[in-house]
C-alpha cells in the first residue's frame, strides 16, 4: 500500500517506554491518536494533556473489556496504521478486521524466541548477548504475526532491566519512524512468517521466577537474574537468616570456596559481600534492600555485626528457595 502522503498513525501504548516514539511521530505530524492501556494514572494524565495540547485524539482502555470499543474509535479516526508499543491487552478480531495488516506491534525482544509480555526480563535472565525491537504484523495471538524487520541492540554485561528498557525505548522511537517512512514511501512492505519451531512463549514472571535457588543456580545465573529484576521488581528476593532481603546489584568473581551454596563468606577488598554459589563459585553482592532500607554490602555487614555481636562471615546463610 503506497500512501504518497504522510501516514496517519494511532499509537496504542501503556507507559513511558512509548514516549520517544510518540515524540518522533508527533514531530513528523504522523500521529492522529493515542490509546493508553491500564497504565498508572500519572502517565494517563500526561498523555491525555499532551494530546489535548497537540489536538491528537486520546482514548483510555483501562481494562480488557474496554478494548472492545477500539474498533469504533478507529472507524471514527480512520488511521492508516495502528502501532502497538507494549499495549497490555489482546486486540480482538473485530478491531483487527479494521483493515488487513493495519496493526503493527513493536515487540521488545527477538521473535519468535522471546514471545510474551516481559522479553527484557527474559533476555537478561538467559544471559543473551543481544536483543531487538521486532516489528511485526499483529494477529489474534500475542507476538505471532509475520515479522517486517528487527532492530538488534547489544546487551552490555552490566545492563539492568532499567538500562536496557531505556535503550530499547530510544531505539523503538526511531524504529517507529523508520516503519512509518516505509509505509509512506514503500510500494509494499516485505515480511516473513515466524519459524514456529523456534518459538517460545514466556508468561509474565511469577514470584518464583524472581527468587534465587542457591543450590540450583550458577553464580552467572544469579547475577543475570539480579540485573533482570532491577529495578522493576526491586531486585531478586532471597531469604537471609530467615529474613526476606532483596539483592539489587551483584558481580561475578573469581573467588572459590568449599562450603555449601548460600553461605556469606565476608567482604572482599572492594567491600562487597561474598556469597558461595554452586560448583565452588562465588558471587559478590554490592547493594541490598533490608528492613531498614537500601544499603551497600559494607553497611549491611557492619550492621549485622553490631546487631549480633558476632562476625557475620561464615554465620549468615541464604536459604534455598525451591521451585
Amino acid at each position: 500500500m503506497q500512501l504518497d502522503k504522510t501516514p496517519k498513525i494511532v499509537i496504542l501504548c501503556n507507559g513511558k517506554f512509548a514516549i520517544p516514539a510518540i515524540q518522533i511521530l508527533g514531530i513528523e505530524k504522523m500521529l492522529c491518536g493515542i490509546g493508553v492501556g491500564d497504565a498508572d494514572a500519572s502517565f494517563v494524565s500526561l498523555i491525555h494533556n499532551e494530546c489535548e495540547r497537540a489536538q491528537i485524539q486520546f482514548n483510555h482502555f483501562p481494562s480488557k473489556d474496554k478494548v472492545s470499543e477500539l474498533r469504533s474509535w478507529l472507524d471514527k479516526l480512520q488511521p492508516d496504521y495502528i502501532f502497538s508499543i507494549c499495549f497490555p491487552f489482546r486486540v480482538d478480531r473485530k478491531a483487527l478486521a479494521y483493515r488487513e495488516n493495519a496493526f503493527i506491534n513493536f515487540h521488545t525482544g527477538p521473535l519468535p524466541e522471546f514471545r510474551g509480555p516481559m522479553p527484557i526480563f527474559e533476555v537478561l535472565r538467559y544471559g543473551k548477548e543481544d536483543t531487538a525491537i521486532t516489528v511485526h504484523y499483529m494477529s489474534e495471538n500475542f507476538d505471532e504475526g509475520p515479522v517486517i524487520f528487527e532492530e538488534r541492540i547489544p546487551i552490555k554485561n552490566n545492563d539492568t532491566f532499567g538500562s536496557l528498557a531505556l535503550k530499547l525505548s530510544e531505539v523503538c522511537g526511531y524504529t517507529a519512524k523508520n516503519m512509518a517512512q516505509m509505509i509512506q514511501f514503500g510500494s509494499l512492505i516485505p515480511s516473513f512468517p515466524q519459524q514456529d519451531k523456534e518459538a517460545r512463549y514466556f508468561e509474565y514472571p511469577e514470584k518464583e521466577d524472581t527468587q534465587i535457588r542457591w543450590n540450583q543456580m550458577s553464580a552467572q545465573e544469579i547475577e543475570a537474574l539480579i540485573r533482570a529484576c532491577n529495578p522493576w521488581n526491586t531486585g531478586v528476593e532471597a531469604i537471609l537468616d530467615n529474613r526476606p532481603v532483596r539483592l539489587l546489584s551483584a558481580s561475578t568473581t573469581d573467588l572459590k570456596h568449599e562450603v555449601l551454596p548460600g553461605q556469606c563468606l565476608g567482604l572482599d577488598e572492594k567491600r562487597r559481600l561474598i556469597v558461595s554459589c554452586k560448583e565452588n563459585a562465588c558471587i559478590a553482592i554490592n547493594v541490598l534492600q533490608i528492613d531498614k532500607g537500601f544499603c551497600s554490602a559494607d553497611e549491611f555487614f557492619l550492621s549485622s555485626r553490631q546487631i549480633s555481636g558476632k562476625n557475620p562471615a561464615n554465620t549468615l546463610l541464604f536459604s534455598n528457595l525451591t521451585k
Binding site: 516489528v135 515479522v147 517486517i148 524487520f149 528487527e150 532492530e151 538488534r152 541492540i153 531505539v171 526511531y174 524504529t175 523508520n178 516503519m179 517512512q181 516505509m182 509512506q184 514511501f185 514503500g186 510500494s187 509494499l188 512492505i189 516485505p190 515480511s191 516473513f192
Partner: protein, 379 residues
C-alpha cells in the same frame, strides 16, 4: 550476484555518477568480473526521501539485486534500514565521510565505505600543532559548513590545544562569496593560521578571494581531504603562501593498486578523481563480496565484511566493527603552484588513522546535528 548502484547528481562535480560508474566498470573488467550484472538508479541530489526509497526498492523488488552501493547520506541510509533489514540485503553506503557517525546504532545490513573527510578534518589539529600553530581562524560556507566535519575539525583543534578565535561563514552563491571578514584576523602575526572547509567550486572561489584580497598573506592555510581533491585543484588559482592539508588520496601515491587504477583509467580515458576512485574501490569490494556473499544472507555478509580490510589505491582500508564504517590511511600534503599558475598536490607523509578514528567516533556530538539530507558535494 546482482549489484545495484544508486547514483547521485552534483552541480559542480557534474560527472559524479559517470565517474563512480566508470570506476566500477573499469575495475570489474580488470578483474574479469564483467559477468556481474549491474543495475543503476538515479537519485537526483539524494535529498528527496521518496526518490531514494523508491529507487532502492526498485533495485531490490524489480531487479532482485543482492547488494546495493549508494552514494547517499547517513540520514538516507537510515531511511533505508527497514527495507534492507526486512529483505536481508546489503547496503554499502559510498560515503564521502563529511558527516560524523550519528547516534544511530549500526545496522546489521549496512556498511559505510568512507573517504574519511571528517576524519581528515579531525586530524588537522595534530598537523597544525606539529607546525607550532597556536591559534587559528576558520572559514567555511553555508553548504560545506552544514556537515559535521566542522564539528570534527573544531574538536581536533581543541584536542591539539589550538584556539579557534575567528570564524567567517560565507554565502554560497558567487555574488555572496567573500573572505573580506578575514581582514581583521590576517595581520601577519606568527603562530596563527587559517583553516577552511570548502569543496568543488567553493574551493576555487576561496582561492580566488585569497589571491585578490590577501596577496601577501603570511598565515598558512590548512585544508581537509575534499578541499585537496586533485581534479578540482587543477582549475583553482594558486593563491600564494603556504597551503597544507590532509588528503585522502593522490595520483602520486606509489601503491601497486594505485598504479593499476591510474593506468587502467588513463587507458580508457576515464577521469581520475575521488569519485572514480570510490567506483574503483566498489569494484574491489564486489570482488571480495563475490567470495563471501550468500544471496539472502545480508546480515552474515555484513558481519564478515566488518573487521576485514581491502588494499586500495589509497592504501589499506579497514572496516571498523564498532561503526560498520571503513577508514584508511590519510596523507599530509602541500599545495604548490603548477605550470598554469594553478594548484598541484604534493604528498609529504602518511598518517596512520586508527587511533584518531577511535578518538573521533567517541566524540559526544553535544546536540550538533546536520540538517543536510543529501550526501556531501551533491548540491
Amino acid at each position: 550476484m546482482k549489484i545495484g548502484l544508486l547514483l547521485p547528481r552534483s552541480t559542480f562535480y557534474t560527472s559524479i555518477s559517470f565517474d563512480i560508474f566508470n570506476g566500477v566498470k573499469a575495475k570489474l573488467i580488470a578483474d574479469r568480473n564483467e559477468q556481474i550484472e549491474i543495475y543503476t538508479e538515479n537519485i537526483g541530489f539524494g535529498a528527496e526521501k521518496q526518490v531514494v526509497y523508491r529507487a532502492a526498492e526498485q533495485l531490490i523488488m524489480q531487479h532482485d539485486t543482492d547488494i546495493i552501493f549508494a552514494y547517499i547520506s547517513h540520514s538516507s541510509a537510515q531511511l533505508l534500514r527497514p527495507l534492507f533489514a526486512s529483505t536481508n540485503r546489503v547496503l554499502i553506503v559510498l560515503d564521502p565521510g563529511a558527516n560524523l557517525p550519528q547516534e544511530w546504532p549500526k545496522s546489521e545490513n549496512i556498511v559505510y565505505h568512507s573517504l574519511n573527510n571528517a576524519l581528515g578534518a579531525f586530524c588537522l589539529g595534530d598537523l597544525m600543532k606539529k607546525d607550532g600553530i597556536r591559534e587559528a581562524a576558520f572559514s567555511t560556507g553555508y553548504y560545506d559548513g552544514g556537515y559535521l566535519q566542522t564539528f570534527a575539525l573544531a574538536k581536533g583543534l581543541e584536542k591539539a590545544g589550538i584556539q579557534l578565535n575567528h570564524n567567517v561563514a560565507t554565502g554560497y552563491i558567487r555574488e555572496e562569496f567573500s573572505m573580506k571578514d578575514l581582514k581583521p584576523y590576517l595581520d601577519s602575526n606568527t603562530n596563527k593560521a587559517l583553516v577552511a572547509i570548502f569543496s568543488g567550486d567553493f574551493l576555487q572561489w576561496f582561492f580566488q578571494e585569497m589571491q585578490v584580497k590577501f596577496p601577501d598573506r603570511k598565515e598558512p592555510i590548512y585544508l581537509p581531504p575534499f578541499a585537496l581533491e586533485e581534479s578540482m585543484l587543477l582549475s583553482a588559482p594558486y593563491p600564494g603562501g603556504t597551503i597544507k592539508g590532509i588528503a585522502a588520496w593522490s595520483k602520486n601515491l606509489t601503491y601497486d593498486s594505485n598504479l593499476e587504477f591510474i593506468d587502467t583509467m588513463k587507458q580508457k580515458n576515464y577521469k581520475l578523481n575521488l569519485f572514480s576512485l570510490l567506483g574503483w574501490e566498489t569494484g574491489i569490494l564486489i570482488n571480495l563480496l563475490k567470495q563471501i556473499h550468500i544471496p539472502g544472507e545480508g546480515k552474515k555478509t555484513v558481519s564478515t565484511l566488518t573487521g576485514s580490510s581491502i588494499e586500495t589505491p589509497r592504501g589499506k582500508v579497514e572496516f571498523d566493527t564498532e561503526t560498520n564504517t571503513s577508514y584508511g590511511s590519510l596523507y599530509t600534503a602541500n599545495i604548490v603552484k603548477n605550470d598554469q599558475n594553478n594548484c598541484e598536490l604534493l604528498i609529504s607523509g602518511t598518517l596512520d588513522t586508527r587511533h584518531s578514528y577511535s578518538e573521533m567516533i567517541k566524540l559526544e556530538l553535544e546536540n550538533s546535528v546536520s540538517g543536510w539530507q543529501n550526501s556531501y558535494v551533491c548540491n
